[in-house]
């Protein structure tokens, strides 16, 4: 399913994976041709003049050439005509990109510092990932909870700003199965460059499977780590170094945490689960209640994986994340075999 991008030493050209890509690239080549024509032409002329008419006598006074109306007209009209073709080409491509076809399949996108929350019409949710079938028109209806963002998929040659207080729309039709970059292209603050992910283009059958919920071959800790770092974007708050906005998670398991309301609790699976599903209930001292709820966005299965991962951060090997992370996969091979791993406490939720 995963087709990697071509691996030349110096990439020169992005993959073409949507119906727009061809048009946009054509326009691009057209403009390159125009630019090359003028640049080479003028640079060659300059070179020629500079060599041919180089100074032969100090302070010579070459004959004055005042100018030429005919030439001026010529070199105003021709660029104008050329630039009009460029405008028209651009206008047509643009018009197609922003006139959303009616039959498109709906996907909803919400930007938030610094992750993409995506929901399919079937209710399936994903974060920082977008799965779409190949050969279907997909319409994205987008907004944001905070600042401007921009949903950008280079391989599809399309992007659109996401504006607070408004819905903006964009659409595309993927043409080639594969895994493509998703970027946030409008500056949005601290972790702007981390606000990205992947777009997976799948055959319709694979997509249907995916919608039905698929299983991966990863261990829960690995899967949890993947969720934590990439898919759910937990890392955007919980792994920021000095600027980290979320609570420190390394080494908390089994320890006592204090809350802003004066109470405290021992961190166990149930507490972790509550923290993820209903973060507003207990706010850790020293932090703002900004963590979004993940209720409805993580499946029970994913919850388990997340908890497994967070536990691994407090693994017996030590409390630093590196050791924990490298130790974790080895630590739980049996657990991996058993997808019913959750301990009894975590079943208490909704």
């Amino acid at each position: 399913m995963m087709i990697m991008q071509q691996n030349t030493w110096i990439p020169l050209f992005p993959e073409q994976a949507s119906t727009f890509a061809g048009d946009v690239d054509l326009l691009y080549f057209y403009l390159i041709a125009i630019s090359a024509f003028f640049t080479i032409g003028i640079v060659a002329a300059i070179f020629f003049f500079v060599v041919k008419y180089r100074e032969r006598e100090a302070f010579a006074t070459p004959k004055e050439i005042h100018g030429s109306i005919a030439l001026e007209t010529l070199w105003s009209i021709i660029p104008f005509i050329i630039s009009m073709t460029v405008f028209l080409g651009g206008a047509i491509v643009y018009y197609n990109q922003y006139r959303v076809p009616d039959e498109a399949m709906d996907v909803y996108v919400v930007g938030k510092q610094w992750m993409w929350k995506i929901q399919h019409a079937t209710g399936q949710r994903e974060i920082n990932e977008l799965h779409v079938p190949v050969g279907r028109k997909v319409k994205l209806t987008m907004t944001t909870e905070d600042v401007l963002h921009d949903f950008f998929i280079p391989a599809f040659r399309t992007k659109m700003d996401v504006v607070p207080g408004r819905y903006t729309t964009m659409w595309f039709e993927a043409t080639k199965p594969g895994k493509y970059h998703l970027f946030c292209a409008e500056y949005c603050g601290l972790n702007h460059s981390g606000m990205g992910g992947w777009v997976y283009v799948m055959e319709q059958r694979d997509f249907d499977n995916w919608l039905a919920g698929n299983v991966s071959g990863q261990t829960p800790v690995e899967a949890g780590r993947d969720l934590f770092e990439n898919k759910l974007g937990c890392a955007s708050c919980h792994q920021g170094g000095k600027d980290q906005r979320g609570a420190v998670l390394e080494g908390i398991f089994g320890k006592e945490v204090k809350f802003t309301n004066g109470q405290s609790a021992i961190v166990d699976d149930a507490y972790l689960r509550e923290s993820i599903l209903n973060p507003g209930a207990k706010i850790v001292e020293g932090y703002q209640p900004i963590m979004p709820t993940f209720k409805g966005q993580v499946t029970e299965e994913q919850l388990v994986q997340l908890i497994a991962y967070i536990k691994s951060l407090s693994g017996d090997a030590g409390t630093t994340s590196q050791t924990a992370a490298t130790a974790a996969p080895k630590a739980s091979p049996e657990a991996a075999a058993n997808s019913n791993m959750p301990s009894s406490e975590t079943k208490g939720g909704n």
Binding site: T143, R166, Y167, T169
Partner: protein
Amino acid sequence: MEHRVDETIEVQQDDHQEHIGLPGYFAVFLILFVGTIVTYVVALQDLDGALFPGANTLVALSIAFFKMSCVILFFMHVRWSSKLIWLTAVSGFFWLAIMFAFTMGDYLTRSTGTF
């Protein structure tokens, strides 16, 4: 060999003196005064309903525009000033119009609404 410094500035100093004289200034003042009263009174009538939507706005702004022209032409002596001054004054408002027109051009043709 007599090149003027600036072909566009041809006003002589004396021109500045007797523009419209005292009666003129008072007449302009009267126009402005009446204009203000009229704006006020008209604003209280429902022209939007009587004529067409936006009529109130149109009338109010037309009067304001007229008053502005009077001030510029007579109090600010543009009526007797060089072409350059005319051009300067006009270009200020022209650029303002550009800003209005293109900004509103966007707002009035947007398809997606706010929420």
